[in-house]
Subunit: 319 residues, 2 copies
């Protein structure tokens, strides 16, 4: 959420000469996205996001992300295509980092979604799943259920318990339950896997952009709805669940893509998995990030609250 | 150089209802300026910078800064006016901070100015001085020469020497020399006092914006040219001086505003003062900022190099 690699205006102007996108008019480093460096560029023709990939994105995954964005964009999904240069290249090097020039999309990320916005997010997710059905690419989810045991171990029992008393036991018990009940039989597909409100651009109730595909992967398709559910249906701190938002999100998804009986039945366990995944990654970052670092640490307890809620309320997915 | 206060899109959309500026279309937190929080906003009518003032700007100075921007903008200087709301108010509160909505200006900040760009910066500075001649406001320079002694004392002799061996003695000797030679008889006026390349927006060789007036104050007018000289005429680390840039900057200023014989004669001592001022503020920040803090520490030695250069080369202001 910061600019890690400083690129001068002169370097950006020279970089843009590789493309047919006009002359540079404005550059602002923006605080956005996962741990990449992002610049909002304006030329005399259009606007773009210049992304330099920092440590969290593996360069070997870039072709997958880019071809997915191109595929979805070509099918009319509101995702930003990656601009090719005059030679047809989409992946570049700039200041020693891999870099892409990406179309700018209008819209704002809401902090407190309304039911109308959640319905629109559900429809956009379903629309993305529809458009991805004939996408040939695959990418293993390196944050899938089988990784969570390792993630918990690398946090450490004492460190987890320092975040919240008894957290390690709770995590271990949940890991065993999910291992037993995880619905691997459900249809797998390419999913976004991180559709938080931050990653949806909106104008009014309409989704004008789905961004930040850097966790997109192949996994249980309904798990994408579960991730979106845990991201959209609670207050930030996870202490308040909103049934109206939940109903609107699921109805929006169902209306655009559909939801099988088996998928609906699995939502309680998939949502527990989604809450545990973000609990563990946030706990890992919490433990391994100095309190005064450049990156804002996000409180893992916000997802412990969600996990406990899902454990105790299995019949909320009724929409 | 970061977003310190997080303002949600909903809060910004509600804030914009006070103005007649259209509907919010996009918001990006931007990494820019002194220690304020800045957002680049787009509405369906125009673009704006929303600034929330953090600890470095004293709210009681805001009326001075705003009336200066309005005055200069009305006279055709490329400075961004502060937008008034429907009730005519320019200073607002948002998320517990004082906030202003400011016009967006195109242009990029260059990192390595060319002589053509330095000439343009000199002309823009002179044009600003011309336009400010009938501006009635005054503001004491809280970083003026009389403050530098206190600044050095608050750094501490041991801490200065830890930055560079013998630095405290060098600073004390320079403080006494400047006290003796400081040209207080020269004309005083409202000055920008911080016109680094960062604070000039350019398209090609043309200055399209002068921004970040949060150090503007009443002081020796030619000191503004000296600050601009120390900011523009050296490599970042202060190790390389560029006579062509220096000549272009001074010529540009002279052509637009003029430079008296007394002012030109004082430039060597004013430039030493400017270099010492930034050496001391950078040293203070260096000593008082944790190495891993949100703010990037700027190396004070870059201005020690400039100070030593100015001490040794008094006949460079020949343009």
């Amino acid at each position: 959420m910061a600019v890690y690699t400083k690129v001068s205006a002169e370097q950006i102007a020279a970089f843009l000469k590789r493309f047919e996108v006009g002359q540079l008019v404005s550059v602002k480093g923006i605080a956005e996205g996962v741990e990449n460096s992002n610049y909002l560029l304006e030329t005399d023709q259009s606007r773009f996001i210049l992304t330099l990939y920092e440590k969290r994105v593996d360069p070997k995954d870039l072709p997958f992300f880019i071809s997915l964005l191109d595929h979805l964009s070509a099918k009319g999904c509101p995702v930003p295509p990656v601009i090719a240069d005059i030679a047809g290249e989409q992946i570049h090097e700039l200041c020693g980092k891999f870099a892409c020039l990406i179309a700018f999309l209008p819209g704002v990320s809401v902090s407190t979604p309304t039911p109308g916005q959640a319905a629109s997010a559900g429809r956009a997710l379903g629309g993305m799943h529809l458009a991805a059905r004939d996408f040939a690419g695959t990418r293993q989810n390196n944050m899938d259920r089988t990784e969570w045991d390792k993630l918990a171990a690398s946090c450490g029992a004492d460190e987890l318990n320092a975040i919240s008393e008894g957290l390690n036991d709770l995590v271990q018990t949940e890991l065993r339950a999910l291992e037993k009940e995880w619905p691997m039989h459900l249809p797998h597909a390419v999913i976004h896997a991180d559709l938080f409100p931050d990653n949806a651009l909106m104008l009014g109730d309409e989704v004008t952009g789905i961004i930040d595909f850097y966790f997109s992967c192949t996994d249980i398709r309904a798990y994408d709805l579960a991730v979106t559910h845990t991201a959209w249906c609670f207050s930030d701190d996870g202490e308040t669940f909103d049934q109206h938002i939940s109903d609107a999100l699921i109805t929006g998804y169902k209306d655009s893509f559909g939801l099988s009986g088996a998928e609906r039945e699995a939502l309680p366990i998939l949502a527990r998995g989604a809450a545990l995944r973000f609990l563990l990654t946030r706990a890992y970052d919490w433990i391994n990030t100095p309190a005064d670092a450049l990156v804002t640490r996000k409180d893992p307890l916000a997802f412990l609250n969600r996990l406990k809620f899902y454990q105790q309320h299995r019949n909320i997915f009724t929409a």
